[in-house]
Symmetry: C3
């Protein structure tokens, strides 16, 4: 996964343009990807697909002709969607267009207000003389397309799980190349896992306008989305965090909380594209899985979020958590105890240790008792795992053993 | 407000009598007040309006003719509703009629059991010789009236907000001259505030029997009371405390909790006249706002509760909290997001900062996102403020901006 | 109670056999007891009544003919339900059949898998030479009966309270001779208490199979069980603990929590016979009262659980708690305030202290106000006691006084 992050890192992505196309092409080397091109001017919900932005070069040269700020060195140096410019400016004239942070180059964009600007460290800014400076932004902002990709892992049912990753950020590793890399591995793992109950749909789209475009073009598909996640900031050293969907108690909320444990946040209408999926008209059961959450680390949206900030171990941990969430979504069922009066005699069926009197009853046997006790048609296996404070897999295995023994049946 | 407290302080109030009339007359100098006189013997709910009590003088003189306890010095010295007496008693005979506290004169009454008595400090009591003592209570307890006052600030609708202050305590400043003074200022502020959605009704009545009399005479008006507060102990140095109505989750409970913060107590059927308003037959949404709550400070119901115990700053703080509660009651509405599929494009409407990538989104913009996300017809602005943990005014301002932009409409 | 524990202690009980019969016979000396004998092979719910087990003697003799393990010394030395054996074994051969704990003889059984074995301290085990050893288990495992007893304290209604004690453990004092002794005293106290609203049914039965047998033979009676408790571990020095029924909010759960206070555990389908009573088909409102809960003390299921481990004081405390629970179940009613508009005038009816102004209102008067305020037909006295945070008895006394005064009536 780290290799993929490093390969994608230098590309200058934005909400439109060739950077997104290159990114999707590379993802497509790992996964069959259907790429969609939506023309500038297309109405999508309350929005309009903007003009396409591409950039070849940009710099600020000092009086000596030295590049003091250079897009080729780091694409964060240019404000995203900067319009073309070529001219000479004093530092005083430039100042309102220069965005700086101590020790780091900030990431700034201006998609919907035509402007241009540069980003640099505070130290570079402080070192600049009064000028004049020669400035170039060699960009185009023209009718074109918005590009996004979809990958589908088919299941046996119509119900879908949506995994959505934003692909619009330029050289930022954790946000969201790590999310992309983990999603790619998750898709590959799903393909090899065996029959799936749900269809898994991966959407790789620019943030906000991309999710809005996907929603606008898939309004009839939205009803099939039973569970979903936006996946971002998947590789930083912080622990996993789950942010609930707007519903707050959707099955994905409970499945993710079961896996993530304590670090669960309530929904807020700010953050990643769960904002769009959870808008009140759609209100989809889509939460957000991150490690350190949105804007919660100092490197966030700065040049500090580079490949050195993300680790293979952190991405593997995120992937593992997603696999556990998938296992819950796939395995969660509601059973009916077919022998609900008293406990059935488990020992006779070889499901119970034969030597009594001991207090160290195995977790599996306890799980069986919980499944029997709560399988009244009102409690799913996840309900039972939560109530019993046992791992879902332990409960699911107990249910499978009871099913095998004919003691429970799946609720119709 | 402090001036009003000081002016009202020397008057000897009780649940009936000229002290209440003088008090209402002084309030009437600040507010148009409708004064009601209800004859002795009138049946009010389960009670009967008692005889009217008035007192001219009272003292205990020692053998040397020196007044050792003197009503003219402090009206708390006489047990409220003491019947007339004139005679000579030994200390031994007086003792059961003397109520004392170390360092303070307690406040005692006996409205419904005919008796007489005096209150004094423990130190005075301890210094008394065996007597004999000459004793006078020059009072009358005769057919008359119970007196209460009402002030109404009319709003455009039928729905009412009830503010109730007890006016039966003699020389006690915080309990409840401070409440009266703050209520007077609130009424004046409401008069100047501009159009009101609710009608505000201020009831200045004796505790218990006064509230019961008001309820008995306004049974057809009670249904119009949408929100209410008893206001007492409004000037002591303690922090504000809100005690919930019997319902516990009425809008007034939530509005007051939003303003007061942590110091919110559950309803108990003891305290001020919320006891009557929240009796199960009425069950009105009436809570109680105080600073230090009922019986919660050492000066409570003693001579220590004098004008030196209350401050203008504390009363101003109480008034400010009431104004904020009013703003919530006036401004709380439920909106419908007219663009509920995805976020509407706020930037295009000038409602969103144009430079993206920054994490220091303004509170106002966050409030707009919350209003849009939760305006599905099920959430009021107060619901949203609670959920978003934002000040109500911020949320209300955001809603106003969205309303102006045509993005939300008020729910019918 | 301690005497009864000591008398029952030496008897070798199991889930069937003469040990249970002797135990029930001794209980029958204190209480009229109906003893049921259910034949081996009887189908009871999902189970079959097993063969009856009796044992006369058992030992392990070393080469010198010395008994190194002797059933006559302590019946825990033999694994319960051990089949007959007579032969010579090396230590190596014996080892899988020997169960040991440091410093204590463990309690082990094997009801449903035919085997035999011995229990001993780790110290004894460590001191054993290689053998050979002569081994005797002089037991019988033959068609016979399962035995259980019932005692009923009749009440005036059909509704029943079930108190269930397991009687299958051999020489273990706290688990459950203390429970049996406390149940016996509770039954005697109930007999002398005066008219009862509920019928109280005491079931003394072997664990699991006994409760299952009772349930199988009383399926038409089960609907009458309104409240119930399993009673175990009633004499150890730990504080009382209540484990909720499967329902979690049954009246017994709330009554017991009111008495026990903080130490309340959620239901789990493990522990004593609440497992059977709370199986989903029955789902009876049966919780479990213990001191230190199931398996929660080091002496649990070892020779350390001997009469020295239980005290008369602890059993008296358990009994007292049960009496308080009974008083709640007997006394809990829902009243209607007949004067619900405003507070009724309590003083006029002699129900209220006449001297006002004091803040030290008696708890009883506060309880009256609570009963009046919440007696709207929706709140029982237990609801009121919980909400008011007052003892149930105080609330019940207040309700009785109000009832006497004609201010409340019982809800139909």
């Amino acid at each position: 996964m780290k290799d993929l992050v490093e390969r994608l890192y230098p590309i200058c992505r934005s909400i439109t343009g060739d950077g997104v196309r290159q990114t999707l092409a590379i993802i497509g080397e790992h996964l069959p990807l259907r790429v969609h091109e939506v023309p500038t001017g297309t109405q999508v919900l309350d929005w309009t697909v903007p003009r396409e932005w591409n950039i070849r070069d940009a710099w600020i040269k000092d009086a000596a002709g030295r590049k003091v700020v250079d897009f080729q060195e780091l694409n964060l140096h240019v404000v995203g969607y900067s319009v073309p410019v070529s001219g000479t400016f004093t530092l005083e004239e430039l100042r309102p267009r220069l965005h700086a942070l101590p020790g780091a180059v900030p990431y700034r964009t201006s998609y919907y207000a035509e402007t241009w600007g540069f980003c640099l460290t505070q130290e570079t800014l402080d070192g600049l003389a009064e000028g004049p400076y020669e400035v170039l932004v060699d960009s185009t902002l023209e009718a074109g397309h918005l590009t996004y990709g979809e990958h589908v892992v088919p299941g046996r049912g119509e119900e879908e799980v949506l995994i959505s990753c934003h692909v619009c950020h330029p050289s930022l590793a954790n946000d969201n190349l790590a999310g992309i890399a983990v999603a790619v591995e998750l898709a590959r793992w799903l393909a090899g896992r065996g029959e799936l109950r749900h269809t898994y749909r991966f959407v790789f789209a620019p943030g906000t306008i991309g999710a809005i475009t996907w929603l606008a073009r898939n309004r009839d598909r939205v009803a099939a989305v039973r569970h979903g996640l936006t996946l971002a900031c998947a590789g930083d050293p912080g622990p996993l965090t789950y942010k609930r969907s707007r519903r707050g108690d959707a099955e994905i909320d409970r499945a993710a909380a079961h896996v993530v444990g304590d670090r669960v946040l309530d929904f807020t209408p700010y953050g990643y594209d769960e904002r769009q999926y959870c808008s009140p008209g759609f209100d989809l059961p889509v939460g957000s899985l991150t490690r350190t959450p949105y804007a919660g680390y100092p490197e966030y949206h700065t040049s500090g979020d580079n490949p050195g900030f993300v680790t293979e171990a952190a991405m593997a941990d995120t992937l593992h958590a997603l696999q556990r969430v998938v296992e819950i979504l796939e395995g969660n069922r509601t059973y009916l105890n077919l022998s609900p009066y008293g406990e059935p005699h488990l020992g006779r069926r070889g499901l119970y240790g034969s030597l009594g009197g001991r207090s160290d009853t195995q977790e599996t046997q306890l799980a069986m008792l919980w499944v029997l006790n709560l399988s009244d048609g009102e409690h799913s296996l996840l309900d039972i795992a939560e109530r019993a404070q046992l791992p879902f897999t332990t409960v699911a295995e107990a249910a499978a053993a009871l099913h095998e023994a004919g003691l429970v049946k799946e609720r119709a």
